[in-house]
Amino acid sequence: MVETTKVPEHQIEETTGGNGRRMEMPSIQLDNEQIVRSRGDAPKKTKVIIESKELTIRYGPKPAVIDVTMPVYEHRVTAIIGPSGCGKSTLLRHLNRMNEFIEGVNMDGELLYRGANLYGAGVDPVEVRRRIGMVFQKPNPFPKSIFENIAWGPRLNGLAAKRDLPELVEKSLKQANLWDEVKDRLHESGLGLSGGQQQRLCIARTVAMTPEVILMDEPCSALDPVSTDAIEDLIFELKDRYTIVIVTHNMQQAARVSDYTAFMVNGELVEYGETNQVFTKPKKKQTEEYVTGRFG
């Protein structure tokens, strides 16, 4: 489990935490650089789980992602940042083949999942999506009970016997920090929850499938600071068991939660590196301007 430490402001500069350490930060007074530096050392290298190689994605003739080569490390959080319309969502959706539901999408290059081509012959997209789950920008619980929302996926995929479902639901809701809030209303509609609770329900639903990777597309963009905080906490906790790729517009969020950061502009990957480095010593001027808020 992750250990949570309250760090008084004056100590932040000196604190060196391990990678898994979460700092509660009065973020308003801090700039991104401070946040990042406070997280200390570079993340320990792990295995590459997903790797895109010279990946180009087009909507019809129009490219949305151009020649992107980057790894995603196992049990690490990778953030994708960049100005609106630069292809973040397109890239993310490509990682679990959700792009296939959009008419006219085509690709060049390779996308490897544990070394195997995700788009290779014989790869079943349904199985891909079971292993690589996704949380969307707008909370989208099913118009069913909270219990059903979570139990549906595992039941569908035969991951749990009927009698184990209640336990699984409880476990997933606990992992998503939602259990205490909904344990008395499991059979009420998932849509009766607040926006932040709905988003956590969607995360619980994804977690219940025990995927290997969780993709999150701006999961906090519709949420208030408190819910955002709850979800960021959650990401920290989930990191132990899952690999997370998160798209965000919030620089502080990227700085706080991620281990690696990819910065995109106009479909191209401008910079990729450890979050620490991208935020404190960016190699490109464009990156520096963006993370400090002067560009974008």
Partner: protein, 395 residues
């Protein structure tokens, strides 16, 4: 304080805003008026039907033209009475028959006595339909009240009896049974095919030129006059595959007729299901069918059922295609299988309305009431299904 007085803002409506308010008010008045016109018309229609369906049916056998003809030929006393009360009727009959005979004789056609009698009967028929006075002239027997039509009687009496040429005995047992058979078989064909087609077109079919072409043509088919479907049914089902004038042929024709309506309504309902629900399901490793079955269909069901109700109501009320495929008007038995002859409620009602005797009009009004009750029951079934299916849907 000084500052407060200075800053008192002007928040009353200016002339432009006043005009906008006036327009808004006018529009809402128009809409309310339209609604009320609709409501009033419905109430008038319904009360008219109920009013028309209430009354005594007298036992006046002699109002049957054939009966009258028979009596004119056999009962001299009756002839004398008619001659006294409505002299023009008998002479008119003779004149009509004579003139027909003459014109045909010119062309070298000889008429038999039976054919001559038929012409006389035709004339009598038309006079009876035109002229209430004729009835009085023909009225010989004291009238006896035999049937009081309303309420329980409708159910017990009309439903339980077969059609007859005597209004005192006529009922619509066979028509009701025929409609029931027809509706059941139509639903059996049209609902699964229509909903499946809608699912395919919305969820599976690639959005290319062919699917757009199909889309446009389905919309066009929904506007084709029903008689055309009747002709098609006659050619294909009755004659082509030799189903005859059976319930099955009727149901297949009706299915063709209402398929476009069901497909269009179901497609709209499926289209209205937010895409985010599908995405959420897919992201959990669901197949297309699982997504459709567990999320799209339940959410779309109310819309689909609305379309189904509309379509089935239409199938219940359509007369033209049924006449075309030869759903008989006089059926004195209840169909026992899909290959039996049949007739349907609207045809029976139509036949009653076309009868000269007033009593049949009363029966027709009762028939309309029964048709409405039938519709209501059918719709409640749909509402029940909808409620059941929605137990798991929680908005």
């Amino acid at each position: 304080m000084d500052v407060e007085q200075q800053n008192t803002p002007e928040i009353t409506a200016g002339p432009r805003l006043k005009l906008r308010h006036a327009k808004a008010r006018a529009f809402s008045v128009v809409c309310a008026a339209a609604t009320w016109v609709g409501v009033v018309m419905l109430v008038v229609l319904l009360s008219d039907v109920i009013f028309d369906s209430t009354g005594w049916i007298y036992s006046r056998v002699d109002r049957d033209p054939r009966m009258i003809m028979y009596k004119l030929e056999t009962d001299p006393q009756f002839v004398a009475q008619v001659e006294e009360r409505a002299p023009s009727l008998l002479s008119g009959m003779e004149r009509k028959a004579k003139s027909k005979e003459r014109t045909l004789a010119k062309n070298g056609v000889e008429l038999t006595a039976a054919e001559l009698a038929d012409f006389k009967l035709d004339y009598l028929h038309s006079q009876l339909a035109k002229d209430e006075h004729c009835f009085a002239a023909l009225d010989t027997h004291p009238t006896t009240r035999e049937r009081w039509l309303i309420g329980g009687t409708i159910i017990k009496d009309i439903i339980a009896t077969f059609p007859s040429r005597f209004p005192t005995k006529a009922g619509l047992k066979s028509a009701l049974a025929g409609s029931l058979w027809l509706i059941i078989f139509t639903a059996l064909f049209a609902i699964p095919i229509g909903v499946s087609a809608a699912i395919y077109l919305e969820e599976y079919a690639p959005k290319n030129r062919l699917s757009r072409f199909i889309e446009v043509n389905i919309a066009n088919l929904a506007g084709v006059p029903s008689i055309v479907y009747g002709i098609l049914g006659l050619a294909v089902f009755v004659r082509g595959i030799h189903l005859g004038r059976s319930v099955l042929a009727g149901a297949l024709t009706m299915s063709l007729l209402i398929l476009p309506v069901i497909i269009i309504a179901a497609r709209e309902a499926i289209k209205a299901v937010p895409d985010s629900i599908r995405q959420g399901a897919f992201a959990l490793g669901a197949t297309r069918w699982q997504t459709v079955r567990h999320h799209v269909l339940p959410v779309a069901l109310p819309g689909i059922l609305t379309g189904v109700i509309l379509a089935m109501s239409r199938a219940l009320g359509e007369t033209a295609p049924m006449i075309m495929i030869g759903a008989l008007s006089y059926v004195a038995f209840v169909p026992t299988g899909p290959m039996d002859d049949f007739t349907v409620l609207p045809i029976q009602i139509y036949n009653w309305v076309a009868m000269p005797q007033r009593e049949f009009h009363l029966l027709a009004a009762c028939g309309i009431l029964i048709l409405l009750i039938f519709l209501l029951l059918m719709n409640s079934v749909a509402i029940f299904v909808r409620q059941r299916a929605q137990r798991n849907i929680k908005w």
